[in-house]
């Protein structure tokens, strides 16, 4: 009985001998910080919010939750991109309306999910993330997000106007090529430096 009691107390981490206490941690004196688990929790909430817009079948919910768990466990992998791709295909399959709120919210959610995964990718849950680290990504996120939401609105208007603009696709592909070419040039110049 006594042994059982001792075992129970040890399991509950009560009355644990000094030698079995967890080792202390090296302190890194940062500025104001958030623990990495808060950001991981935020990733979970964002992922859950995105998934909540497509509750059309229990199997999709189960698959989505499994994917979200995988994202939370391995944010530094290809899993977040796959999860985002899955959400995009759900949008493709379930929401034909270009003005549907789900499209705009998913634009926000996927972008935020990828940025958060990127920032906290290699960090363990107990790591400290300095708040100033989040300032630059936040600023960039707002700028890109505002322009993309505007673009989404314009695209939705074009799609809703039911106008056939065959040159849009050509312009888009040409834009992509120019973008990639410019980028490659800049990267080559940077490498030469």
């Amino acid at each position: 009985m006594r042994r059982r009691r001792e075992r129970l107390l040890r399991t509950l981490r009560i009355n644990r001998p000094a030698a079995e206490r967890p080792l202390p941690r090296v302190t890194i004196n940062t500025g104001a910080y958030l623990p990495a688990w808060v950001l991981r929790l935020l990733i979970g909430l964002v992922g859950l919010g995105c998934l909540a817009m497509f509750v059309v079948h229990p199997a999709i919910v189960v698959l989505g939750l499994a994917g979200l768990v995988a994202v939370l466990v391995r944010p530094a992998s290809i899993v977040p991109a796959l999860y985002a791709l899955g959400l995009a295909f759900l949008l493709l399959a379930t929401t034909p309306d270009p003005f549907a709120a789900a499209g705009f919210l998913l634009l926000l959610g996927i972008h935020l999910l990828i940025i958060l995964c990127s920032v906290t990718a290699e960090l363990p849950l107990v790591a400290r993330v300095e708040l100033t680290v989040l300032a630059r990504p936040a600023r960039r996120f707002v700028i890109i997000q505002l322009s993309c939401q505007g673009l989404a609105l314009a695209a939705a208007w074009l799609a809703g106007a039911d106008q056939t603009l065959p040159w849009i696709g050509v312009v888009a592909v040409a834009g992509l090529v120019v973008l990639v070419w410019t980028l490659a040039l800049r990267l080559r110049m940077a490498d030469a430096d």
């Binding site: 944010p75 290809i78 991109a81 990127s118 990718a121 992509l176």
Partner: protein
């Protein structure tokens, strides 16, 4: 904690992280899928990924910063060991991921801003003292929301000397005999001191300012001249001389055992938050040295784990620093050379021995010094022990060791060596009086002998 070291490693190899690469592919796939299925809301889902990639790659850092690790100049509080990481960054680098380790500690991990040059403090709290290698650091720069990563680099640990803390003590015992003519203590001889010794007839060599005119006047006419009222002999007030004490601290650095008996084999290490016997010995020796030196006495240090004498007796603040440094760097070095005779120590000195008394050597030395007339104080520095987790054979071994130790300490006490348990626990496990109380009792007990 004066040791310092600087190590850094400039290098640059920037590459896209897994998340960034997969996000870029995701962006392309979404755009193409949207075009293929003629769905604008899918096309725009991929745009932020591509824009993000373009923005970030366009501002890609071209070089790499430098990180330098150095120990802090001094300890701000006992047990707190600090070091400084100095970052010299380059444009484009945004963040720095740090993984800092120390023996007996879990890795500290942090993501800090690295846009500007800065100092980042790292620290651990430890109960251990002495020379310790710590703060090995793995660091990696990142830019563009963590999408661009420079390959991680490594800074080896630096050697930091953690000096022992000192405990404030009020009264401490003194040697049986106080040599010298000056010092903070009263001697039994007449001389230049403060307390009245006697009134004596003026003799050649006596100081004129010590003439006691009242006594001289009172005794006028009683001297050899015989005539009343006529001053015949002068009387002087003599005082007790002052003297200083010589204290020899004898450290037994041959073994260093932790409170967990299970770690006494070489296979297990002592936890960083548990002081070992040598840590306790360092603290005890430093505390006593500080008190005696503050009182103007001369203190020296002998380490029986080494053949040379680290510090001969001397006084003053510099001597305290010297002793504390010697204490901090003393540690078991392989198999120590066995001494056949007890080291020779200054005559009349109070000898304070710091040992675990797990073998006979130190007890024999202490008894030898006591037999030669020294006052010997044995400070037992074995920590409060725990035998939890020992198997049957280990428990049996420990019982034998404990019984031998109890006998050894009993022999010491009976031979006139005074015994103090620094951790407040007697060999039989009973609580001992606190060090302050025990020291004050010893000081009172021998005060009459000076």
């Amino acid at each position: 904690m004066a040791d310092q070291a600087e190590r850094s490693e400039p290098h640059s190899r920037w590459q896209l992280g897994v998340v960034a690469s997969s996000a870029a592919i995701l962006g392309v796939v979404l755009v193409l899928s949207g075009i293929m299925f003629q769905r604008t809301n899918v096309v725009v889902l991929g745009i932020p990924m591509l824009l993000n990639l373009v923005w970030n790659l366009a501002h890609r850092p071209t070089g790499s910063g430098r990180l330098t690790l150095s120990a802090a100049e001094m300890m701000r509080e006992p047990g707190l060991v600090e070091a400084k990481l100095e970052l010299a960054t380059v444009p484009g680098v945004e963040n720095l991921q740090l993984r800092v380790g120390a023996p007996g500690h879990q890795l500290g991990v942090a993501l800090v801003a690295a846009a500007h040059d800065r100092d980042i403090g790292v620290s651990i709290t430890t109960a251990r003292t002495g020379q310790r290698s710590m703060f090995h650091t793995e660091w990696g720069e990142s830019a563009a929301d963590g999408m661009l990563l420079n390959h991680p680099r490594f800074i080896p640990a630096i050697m930091i000397t953690v000096h022992p803390a000192t405990r404030a003590l009020k009264t401490l015992p003194l040697p049986f005999r106080l040599p010298g003519l000056t010092g903070a203590h009263d001697s039994r001889r007449a001389g230049e001191g403060g307390d009245l010794h006697d009134v004596h007839v003026f003799t050649p060599g006596a100081r004129l300012r010590r003439i006691d005119w009242r006594v001289t006047a009172r005794r006028a006419g009683q001297g050899s001249s015989g005539r009343p009222g006529e001053i015949g002999e002068l009387y002087v007030r003599r005082t007790f001389a002052t003297a200083d004490a010589t204290i020899m601290l004898v450290l037994d650095s041959r073994d260093d055992v932790g409170p967990d008996v299970g770690t006494w084999d070489d296979a297990n290490t002592v936890r960083e938050d548990q002081a070992t016997s040598l840590d306790i010995a360092r603290e005890a020796a430093a505390s006593l040295a500080r008190h005696y030196l503050d009182n103007g006495d001369r203190v020296g240090l002998e380490d029986v784990g080494r053949l040379r004498r680290p510090a001969p007796p001397s006084g003053g603040r510099a001597q305290l620093h010297r002793l504390v440094h010697h204490l901090a760097v003393s540690q078991p070095i392989g198999e120590p050379t066995r001494r056949k005779r007890a080291p020779r120590l200054p005559s009349g000195a109070l000898i304070i021995v710091f040992s675990t008394f797990l073998d006979d050597d130190m007890a024999n030395f202490a008894q030898s010094w006591r037999r030669s007339g020294h006052r010997v104080l044995a400070v037992d520095v074995l920590p409060r022990l725990t035998i939890r987790g020992l198997d049957v054979r280990q428990r049996t071994a420990w019982r034998i060791v404990r019984m031998e130790r109890v006998d050894r300490l009993r022999d010491l006490s009976s031979s006139g060596v005074e015994l103090i348990h620094w951790e407040g626990e007697q060999p039989n496990g009973q609580p001992a009086p606190s060090v302050e109380v025990a020291m004050a009792a010893l000081a009172r007990a021998r005060r009459g002998r000076r």
